[in-house]
Symmetry: C2
Subunit: 327 residues, 2 copies
DNA sequence: ATGAAAGCGCTAACAA
DNA sequence: TTGTTAGCGCTTTCAT
């Protein structure tokens, strides 16, 4: 490996001058600069970023901590984060926590030891003050972690309302909500939206917990129809949940959307691949990830942040599971 | 931040002793050790891995370079890599190249400057010798990069054969293969498998390029049936491609599997979420990722590698798009 | 068994 | 304008 020392010798100057050229800092004569640049080329020199990190106590890396990249909601988020990071010259480290507090702690330790410059968090196993103790730039993505941590989320409650309303607008009388995991912010908010509408409209409804997991959603749907065979509208807490429900409905011989209508949440690509397409409340997943990354980098670069809460609107995307449309 | 110096002072020993305790290397008296350990606890000291990296020229990081994490084939792979990395104490950096050579080059530079210990490559934009020049432990995953680079792939050709045979076994007479991107190893191999069977069986067939992209697959399927309305069996180069084909077929009013049978490739979760489930040649995606990570770490730790080529078997998973089964 | 000191590659005062 | 030097935090040889 060529080091700065080699370049300095080759160019007949001191390391300091090489450093100045590299960082365009301080005075360097035209000749010296030219000679250094030439030596860099000839020796194919690349500055060592570890040595730089040691001095600056920064690494040019940001971490993305999420529950599980194989959950289809996250890849697009991750992609967005990485795109922005690349554009600003940062590298992304990624960490799957499975929502396990132990894993999360181990990661935080490792990340700090590596001088990562900041963390985007899409999990929330820890108590909020644990996060403050980190003393690192943080952004909460799709989760709420505390007042003074910049947060990027969707209008989940409003989405819950709109989704529920959409079922009612299409003539559903007996609703079910297959809610996401308890304790997970967005799932709670969507439920709240659902509750608000059904109570206002005074319609019959039931709520079941199905996680964000297809198999579980399937089982819950079977049970649901055992208990309440007259359900005619399902608001699933995620598109994956909706897929599970559709599976069960198909096995039960229920026609969708004629007998039962189903709406999901998220707007993951899966939804439009399905036949019929899954009606859903679409989130701006990519944009959320990109904004989170930008907010993080702003903090890292000590630029001011205007708003701490960024709520993205959600959009109803009508497909075949609630209306007979051309997909 | 507490450094080793602080610990040394607090414990009344030298930095060298602290280092010895930390690394369990060299002689340290019981008393000294106890005192150091105590100080570490009290000061809540964490060794600085950047400083370590600088000395050792290793970082404890491995990179995963892939075309696009939001392609559903990759998240599970990534997850596997990360799980293994975590188990061995490594951190994973991930890089989306979009198969662009420029991006790939930029990443390689950045990664080398950061002393990443090795790279898992699921792309292949560069010429093989470019990779050798890197002089870093490498593993090729789902791609072939050269003789002396450990490689983890599926039996794509065999999979192509089995998939094609499955269609024939189910009575298909006019086959189409919606092949993956040209120049991409696995896509070529699957095609080869297809060719082998159709030519042996002397059945009528056609081949169209559909990439690994759902929208394109849809369009190609429309065109396909315009040209050849009597196609009754489609071997799609990936499950995503299959999803696109199914979409088109649904719009065209073709009944699946009665009039047209469809088989995909990959075994991504999407396939079983579909109604009807997508018949597919399943790859052991997670296991492949995990093995690739283990092979990489073996190289990093200078342990001997027995086999350079690891071909994973593929499995036919029959679902509703080729046979009328209960899903 | 332990410490002093040099060095990993780079940056930034401070002199000159 | 340039070089010398100390130092980022850690490891390791070499004395002692």
């Amino acid at each position: 490996m060529t080091t700065m020392k080699d370049v300095a010798k080759h160019a007949g100057v001191s390391k300091a001058t090489v450093s100045r050229v590299l960082n365009k800092k301080g005075y360097v004569s035209k000749e010296a600069e030219a000679s250094v640049l030439k030596s860099i080329k000839e020796l194919n020199y690349q500055p060592n970023s570890v040595a730089r990190s040691l001095y600056h106590k920064t690494s040019g890396m940001i971490a993305l901590v999420l529950p599980d990249i194989s959950n289809p909601f996250f890849p697009e988020l991750a992609r967005a984060v990485e795109d922005v990071a690349l554009a600003y010259g940062y590298t992304v480290v990624f960490c799957n926590t499975d929502e396990e507090i132990e894993k999360e702690k181990r990661y935080f330790e490792a990340l700090q030891q590596k001088y990562v410059d900041g963390i985007i968090l899409s999990t929330s196993s820890q108590a909020p003050d644990e996060y403050h103790k980190l003393d690192l730039p943080l952004v909460a993505l799709d989760r709420f972690l505390g007042e003074n941590i910049p947060t990027v989320v969707s209008e989940n409650k409003r989405g819950g309302e709109l989704a529920t309303q959409h079922l009612l607008d299409n003539g559903c009388k007996n609703l079910a909500h297959l809610r996401g995991p308890e304790g997970v912010g967005p799932a709670e908010d969507r439920l709240e939206g659902f509750r608000k509408v059904v109570s206002k409209e005074k319609c019959s409804y039931t709520v079941r917990t199905a996680g964000f997991d297809m198999e579980r959603a399937k089982q819950e749907t079977y049970k649901l129809f055992q208990d309440k065979p007259d359900i005619d509208g399902i608001f699933a807490g995620s598109d994956i949940t909706a897929a599970g429900a559709l599976h069960a409905l198909s096995t039960l011989g229920k026609k969708v959307p004629e007998e039962v209508k189903v709406i999901g949440f998220d707007g993951i690509p899966l939804g439009q691949m399905f036949v019929p397409g899954i009606t859903t409340m679409e989130q701006s997943i990519y944009d959320m990830g990109a904004l989170a990354a930008r907010l993080l980098i702003k903090q890292i670069e000590k630029k001011p942040i205007e708003n701490y809460i960024h709520e993205f609107p959600v959009h109803l995307v009508v497909r075949g599971t609630t209306e007979e449309v051309m997909t």
